[in-house]
């Protein structure tokens, strides 16, 4: 808050800027500089040019990783949206005391360590795991399903992690809708299905889109869950970047892959800020 007295006391044009300098220096040196240096290496190593980018798209292994990453992020977003919508809907209208319990469950899972949750899914989904045992006991399948070390495992684990990120913004949007609008539609003779499809869904679309974009972009950059549940044969983009740099020491190619991830991420966030500001994103992929 800027008051008249502040203007008299400190007429300098850069008032207050000094306070930001320590953080600015830290970020400039340890955040902006290294990221730019990495991107520079993608066009200078092993020689100047765009050959690293050409290699990423031309080599079938790398192209497949890119395709898998976008595929999994898309499928995860779709499932999170389909499963999250009913929960957000009921959460927006259910009595307070129940809503508090559901919120507690959502927050508990969100605040549980990511590695711990992923470890749980590794054990639950393995061949001799609880899920397969239950499926066999009910006679639905005759032999264990391959649920881990493939993209199915990655998708299950990721949907689990992303659900809260879609339920919370969607819940906020649904709560803000005036029920009178739906009553008006009913008075005008619309049936339930028609009200749902032509009033409720369009009115909740901004929250759904904001949440879906956030989940999509977080899924693109996720490292831990895909690496552990997907196994080495089903790498995703973040895992590939880590491997190119840490194991193969290919800084040029790794930098190029990082630049692609960075560009897509920032582009989607810009889109989100431009069109759905208000329901802002929270966390980058882990």
């Amino acid at each position: 808050m800027v008051t008249a007295t502040a203007d008299i006391r400190e007429p300098f044009r850069w008032t207050g800027m000094g306070y930001a300098v320590p953080a600015l220096l830290l970020l400039a040196f340890f955040f902006v500089l290294p990221v730019l240096a990495l991107l520079l290496r993608s066009i200078t190593e092993p020689e100047l040019g765009l050959q690293n980018y050409a290699e990423l798209f031309a080599t079938s292994t790398y192209a497949r990783v890119l395709f898998n990453t976008f595929l999994v992020a898309g499928v995860v977003t779709l499932f999170s949206l389909l499963l999250g919508f009913p929960v957000a809907w009921l959460l927006a209208i259910m009595p307070q005391r129940w809503a508090r319990i559901v919120f507690a469950v959502i927050l508990l899972s969100m605040w549980t360590n990511l590695l711990a949750r992923t470890y749980a899914w590794m054990v639950l989904l393995q061949r001799t795991g609880v899920i397969n045992k239950m499926l066999m006991a009910t006679g639905l399948v005759s032999e264990p399903l391959p649920l881990v070390n493939n993209l199915t495992g990655v998708t299950i684990g990721m949907v689990y992690i992303m659900l809260p990120f879609i339920i919370l913004p969607l819940h906020a949007t649904l709560r803000a809708i005036d029920p009178a609008i739906l009553n008006a539609a009913a008075l005008c003779g619309a049936g339930r299905w028609q009200i749902f499809r032509r009033v409720l869904v369009p009115l909740s679309a901004p929250g759904a889109a904001a949440g879906a974009l956030m989940v999509f972009v977080m899924s693109l950059g996720y490292f831990v869950t895909p690496s552990l549940l997907g196994g080495t044969a089903n790498m995703m983009l973040a895992g590939m970047i880590a491997q190119l740099i840490q194991s193969l020491l290919n800084w040029g190619l790794g930098g190029a892959a990082a630049f692609i991830l960075l560009t897509v991420t920032l582009a989607i966030y810009a889109l989100q800020l431009r069109y759905f500001s208000g329901a802002a994103g929270t966390a980058g992929g882990r």
Binding site: A20, P22, A23, V35, A92, M122, L124, G284
Partner: protein, 266 residues
């Protein structure tokens, strides 16, 4: 009618069924790890044939796990201090400051939150290899402070925006120096924001794994890095015990936070 709980009719049961299923889906892994950590089966048979403290015993008998936990606590504490101090200063600039490019500065301060962590991790890894900070405690603290900083900025700017600056000005008019006025008037008034900033900063460092994998050396590891390393070898129940401890500490902190908020709000 679709947004009225009492008039949902049959649909209400459908929505409840899905909600309960999703809640179980969200709860299942958390409860499952805790159960596994007390199960006697080395091969993670579930339900376990018997209950035991054995895995916690093995965990606490292994100096590598203890060293990792100690590193995590040290890094977390240092990150909390750095991130809150930097966040407080930066928030003064963002909320009170009047200079061109203020919104751009805020955008820059929040970027570490949206940038894919793996990109930041490999970029910082390259720099640290060059300047010799790889595998050091300072390296961990710098890396985690950058990740925690945006959350501190959000918590503290929110608190500072709702604080009426004229109260601080009144203290100055009554003879306090600008620093004393900030120390005695402003900081106590925004203590809830500072507390949230500290809590988030600690938890982000405590739970962070991606950057930590790149910063760690065989001799200096945080708890999540140790779990990560163990996970890539086998799925021993000791990991379940370590995970349970991670989760329990987080829950204790959240519970304390809830209490503190209640006390502060009075």
């Amino acid at each position: 009618m679709l947004l009225s709980y009492d008039r949902l009719g049959g649909l209400r049961f459908g929505l409840w069924a899905i909600t309960i299923a999703i809640c179980l889906f969200l709860l299942l892994p958390v409860l499952f790890i805790a159960a596994l950590s007390f199960g006697s089966s080395q091969w993670l048979v579930f339900p376990p044939p018997a209950w035991t403290w054995r895995w916690y015993g093995e965990l606490f008998a292994d100096p590598r796990w203890l060293a990792a936990a100690w590193t995590s606590l040290k890094v977390g504490a240092l990150v909390t201090i750095c991130s809150v101090v930097l966040g407080l200063l930066a928030s003064f600039a963002l909320v009170r400051g009047k200079f061109p490019g203020r919104l751009w500065l805020k955008a820059l301060f929040l970027t570490p939150m949206v940038l894919p962590v793996v990109v930041f991790a490999v970029a910082l890894y390259a720099l640290f290899l060059r300047i010799g900070l790889s595998g050091t405690l300072i390296g961990f603290v710098i890396a985690h402070t950058i990740l925690a900083f945006p959350f501190a900025v959000i918590s503290i700017t929110n608190a500072l925006e709702t604080f009426d600056k004229s109260i601080e000005d009144a203290a100055i008019l009554c003879g306090a120096s600008p620093w004393l006025a900030k120390w005695k008037v402003t900081l106590p008034a925004i203590r809830l924001g500072l507390f949230s900033a500290a809590l988030f900063s600690f938890l982000i460092s405590w739970d962070e794994v991606v950057v930590a994998i790149f910063m760690a050396s065989p001799t200096l590891q945080t708890l999540p890095v140790r779990i990560w390393g163990a996970l890539r070898q086998d799925l021993t129940p000791v990991i379940a015990a370590a995970s349970t401890i991670l989760v329990v500490l987080t829950l204790i902190l959240m519970a304390v936070a809830g209490l503190v908020r209640k006390v502060f709000a009075k």
